[in-house]
Amino acid sequence: MNKKTLKRLLSYVKPYTPLAVLAFILAAVGVSLTLTAPIIIGKAVDCAVGVGEVDFAKMMNYIIILVFVVLGTALANWALGFVMNKISHGTVRDIRTQAFAKFSRLPLSYIDHTPKGDTMSVIISDIDSISDGIIQGFTQLFTGIATIIGTLIFMFGINVKIALVCVCITPLSLFVASWISRHSYKMFSEQSEVRGELGGYVNEIISGQKTVQAFSFQKRSAEKFGEINQRLYKCGVKAQFLSALTNPSTRFVNGIVYAAVGITGAFTVVNGALTVGFLSTFLAYANQYTKPFNEISGVITELQAAFAGAERVFALLDEKEEEPDNALPSLEDCDGTVSVENVFFSYDKNIPLIEDFNLNVSPGQRVAIVGPTGCGKTTLINLLMRFYDVDKGRIVVSGKDITEITRDSLRSSYGMVLQETWLFKGTIRENIAYGADNPTDEEIIEAAKTAYAHSFIKRLPQGYDTIISDDDENISQGQKQLLCIARVMLIKPRMLILDEATSSIDTMTEIRVQKAFNKIMNGRTSFVIAHRLSTIKEADAILVMKSGKVIEIGTHDELLAKKGFYYELYNSQYKQA
């Protein structure tokens, strides 16, 4: 458990300082009232010494005080629970929202290279463990320590000798607790490691379940799962057993304390230095005094798990973000010129990809990019949209270096449709409206009509209010693509990027969509990647890329006349198989 993590965690409680102070007061009140009760009970017991020796009037007094003390304790504890609950869930909400916000500022290179399961478990389960372990743990820790101190004060107030006996035995309890937590911590971290491995495997296999079944891979994946699961079992048993030692062991120490108080107390009573009632108070204290030790040692194991979770959350929060661009001007009145100047880029420094790339696009030009798979077409888009930053050189849009304007303004001047569709869980209307500012229903329907999606949407049971999600099987891949196109049609961007945007759509619809695109692309700069060369014939410039370089550039006719790589590519499409 390191101090930095603790400090940082506490910083999240800061906004709740008034509540935390209140909790502090309530806990102090609750604890002291809880501790007063046994004294009053003890005094009441002393009122009933034996046959005929009972002071009823005095006893009645004590009983009335006790009623108030009990009610006060209950009230304080109730309020404490209430307040802590607010603090704990509020903090978790704050951390979680912050982690998510952080995620949206992370560069694509981080997101592309981190297993999704890891990010998921940080935002979901690790943060939950913070709420369970640390926040709840601190309440117990705090009331626990307050109880211990309070009890000690009361005990020393009543009888120093017996109190000393208690204090002397206490280190035993601490020793046992720390021994257990040291050993269980090791097992716990091993367990959470294996659990993470299991989670990752499950996540992958379940999301790819359809493929698993198609290849009858179930048995073997179950075997692998069973193997990890078995390992989890082994360290799970050890971790659980070790941590389960805490309760009985501390209970045992309690027993010893209780016996010791009993014996020394009885001796003191025999010697006349204590009343039986006070002995009963002491016995109650002996129970109360050791109980927090139980709880604290129990809390420690939870705290350890929580700290491990917190550290992972903080690691995410500390990831390097995209360079902040708030101070930069946004791109306004984009005219649609794009120039790429001497750009170098590679994902992996050892494998050069794009080298000395140059391109000039004037407003309204339609640029098509063709080339064999893996030649860097998609990478070019990553650079244009600034999902990745160039290693060398620069990209200039509308006369401005794209690193000198805000990302949002750059990106929203493009409309992008990718081959891989993305829809979120929500209605079709919401999905189309994504990216637009409060469009009217008419505008949404208009966009859907332009994208030729209107007719199939109308046929759905709830029309535009049908709830869909990305892994929905009720609408086809092509229909999903039409929805993504409608989304772009709605925002009418200044520039367009179409990366195989129509690959899952049948050609007839594609031609219609293409026409619609032509209409909105009119006067707009566009970048089109397509395998079907027929769809890009009319482009103003065709870039033929191979291994990260532009090898040919020109119009369709020029390139055909050149009889180069494009010519071959084009002819191969129309050759009989």
Partner: protein, 571 residues
């Protein structure tokens, strides 16, 4: 939850012996106040120091034996609960593997993952508590009551009145909070869903500058979760104080009525201390009991979610097993209808056709015409609503699923690869594939150059989902993966969309030349990709518009002519 009780069977020994040891410890704990009462009433009264020491020794001894018993119990509890958790996870995993595509769609993978991980953990915890505390707690409560009766029957009546009162308040609080736990779990699923969507759609979201909107959406979900959590917390925060009040009022009653009995001599001072002690013990036990109830209600909700998976009747189950009919066509559809069960409109209506062995069939049609749906019926990813699908002359429902799917190699639209080496990925359908088979498959799939360019060839590691590969590379590897199974039927579901024309052409050529007698179904948008097929099935709004050769269709089918025209295949 009872349905899952069968998992306890294997650990019956632990489940029975564990609590017995715990019980012994509890018995010793109950004796302690009695011993203390003896010290007060006998030792102190007679100033008998050796007696006090002796009794003190007894208390220590009780503690030591209690500790040993508790340790045995904890060990058994760990073993049984972890064991049951492990068994459950294995079974849930296996069950998920048997769920049909439509059931998988219904649950969604986020929810399935949550169920197999967190819900099973919750149940595991419940089992541990079952062994450790379920016997102990009621025993302490009942035991303390019995002890109270043995001291003084009339004062013990207080115990009998108090316990139902506490139970009632427990019930009231719990019954109000249980529905919240279910809702909270649902909210958590929702949050996971948003995170997943954001991970998958990060490019689109940023392209539309949707980060703010996503944060708002996430913030809303996180807020709802917080509110529900606080609401349920508000209810359960009442529980402990209420119990505290009830129990302490009971102690007050003991003092009040006890005082009178001490006065008339039917009860001693030590007895009163013992009674108060027992009441305290009950109150401690009840706190644990309340926690137990929380754990078990949560476990109940988890059990229900796990059972939802178990209760899914496998709508697509193994058949008896069958062997192919000699000379039968490779695939036959007889009046097949299909719907995804949402709006009564059929996705596919009245499909009938048959495909001979070794034939290459092209399937073409507009978006949403049912092409993928059609081919999903052949490996029985979905079952037809009406009509029969036959493979090798046998209804697909009669095959064992594995038997059927071994015959068929499917290359889906969305290519999903798993983390592992290239070789591991390629052999998932046929683990004993020889190197020759592997190389041939790679060659046919036009993936030789991918493997060659990889640093470690077949042993190169592929990241989850194939993130370190391009779309085209992924697609070619998934095609190779299907070919490694040496299927009798190969289905390419628009799976060359990320390939350029030359590669696609070479792929089709290689399939034709290098596999003998393999039946091939090519679903495509491109007429050029299927025009050389032996026959072409033209689909239009879920019905067969025409079947025939390219040349025939050009004469007979308007739909087909239109498609070809649109793609300039005719000039």
């Amino acid at each position: 939850m009872l349905k899952l009780a069968r998992y306890l069977k294997k650990y019956l020994k632990e489940v029975i012996i564990g609590p017995l040891f715990k019980l012994t410890e509890a018995v010793f704990e109950l004796i302690v106040p009695l011993v203390m009462a003896k010290i007060i009433d006998v030792g102190i009264k007679n100033a008998d120091k050796p007696y006090i020491l002796k009794m003190g020794g007894v208390m220590v001894l009780l503690g030591v034996v209690g500790l040993c018993c508790a340790l045995v119990c904890q060990y058994l509890a760990s073993k049984a609960s972890q064991g049951i958790g492990t068994d459950l996870r294995n079974d849930v995993f296996a069950k998920i593997s048997s769920l049909s595509y439509s059931k998988l769609d219904k649950f969604g993978s986020a929810s399935l993952v949550n169920r197999i991980i967190s819900d099973v953990n919750q149940l595991q915890l419940a089992v541990a508590m079952l062994i450790r505390l379920v016997v102990r707690v009621p025993f302490l409560i009942i035991g303390a009551t019995v002890m109270a009766f043995s001291i003084n029957a009339k004062l013990a009546v207080i115990f009998v009145v108090i316990i139902p009162l506490v139970a009632l308040s427990l019930y009231l609080v719990m019954s109000r909070s249980v529905p919240y736990y279910k809702r909270i779990q649902k909210n958590l699923d929702g949050i996971s869903g948003i995170v997943r969507e954001n991970l998958n759609g990060v490019r689109v979201i940023r392209a539309f500058s949707g980060q703010e909107r996503e944060m708002e959406r996430f913030g809303k979900a996180a807020n709802t979760l917080m509110r529900e959590n606080i609401r349920v917390g508000r209810i359960s925060a009442v529980l402990n104080p209420v119990c505290y009040v009830i129990l302490n009022f009971a102690i007050i009653a003991i003092l009040y009525f006890g005082g009178q009995r001490v006065y008339d001599g039917s009860v001693s001072q030590g007895d009163i201390i013992a009674l108060v002690n027992y009441m305290t013990q009950i109150s401690l036990a009840l706190v644990v009991f309340a926690n137990l109830v929380v754990i078990f209600t949560k476990a109940g909700a988890s059990a229900a979610r796990v059972n939802e998976i178990f209760d899914e009747t496998p709508d697509i189950a193994d058949g008896e097993g069958a062997s192919e009919v000699e000379g039968a066509p490779a695939i036959e559809f007889r009046n097949v209808y299909f719907d995804y069960g949402n709006n009564g409109e059929y996705e596919l209506s009245d499909l009938s056709f048959s495909i001979a062995k070794g034939e290459t069939i092209g399937i073409i049609g507009s978006t949403g015409s049912g092409k993928s749906t059609l081919i999903n019926l052949i490996p029985r990813f979905y079952d037809a609503a009406m009509g029969d699908v036959l493979v090798d002359g046998v209804n697909v429902k009669e095959y064992k699923l594995e038997e059927l799917r071994k015959k068929i190699g499917v290359v889906p639209q969305k290519s999903s690869l798993f983390s592992g080496t290239v070789a591991e990925n390629l052999t998932i359908g046929n683990e004993n594939a020889s190197e020759d088979v592997l190389k041939k498959a790679v060659r046919i799939a036009q993936a030789e150059d991918i493997i060659e360019r990889m640093p470690k060839g077949f042993d190169t590691f592929i990241a989850e989902g194939g993130r370190n590969l391009s779309g085209g590379q992924r697609q070619r590897l998934t095609i190779a993966r299907a070919l490694v199974c040496e299927p009798q039927i190969l289905i390419l579901d628009d799976s060359s969309s990320a390939l350029d024309y030359v590669t696609d052409l070479n792929l089709r050529k290689a399939i034709k030349e290098e596999t003998d007698n393999m039946t091939v179904l090519i679903v495509s948008q491109r007429a050029a990709a299927i025009k050389s097929a032996d026959r072409i099935i033209v689909l239009d709004e879920g019905r067969i518009a025409a079947i025939g050769k390219h040349e025939e269709l050009l004469k007979t089918s308007d739909v087909y002519i239109e498609i070809c025209k649109s793609q300039e295949v005719l000039n």
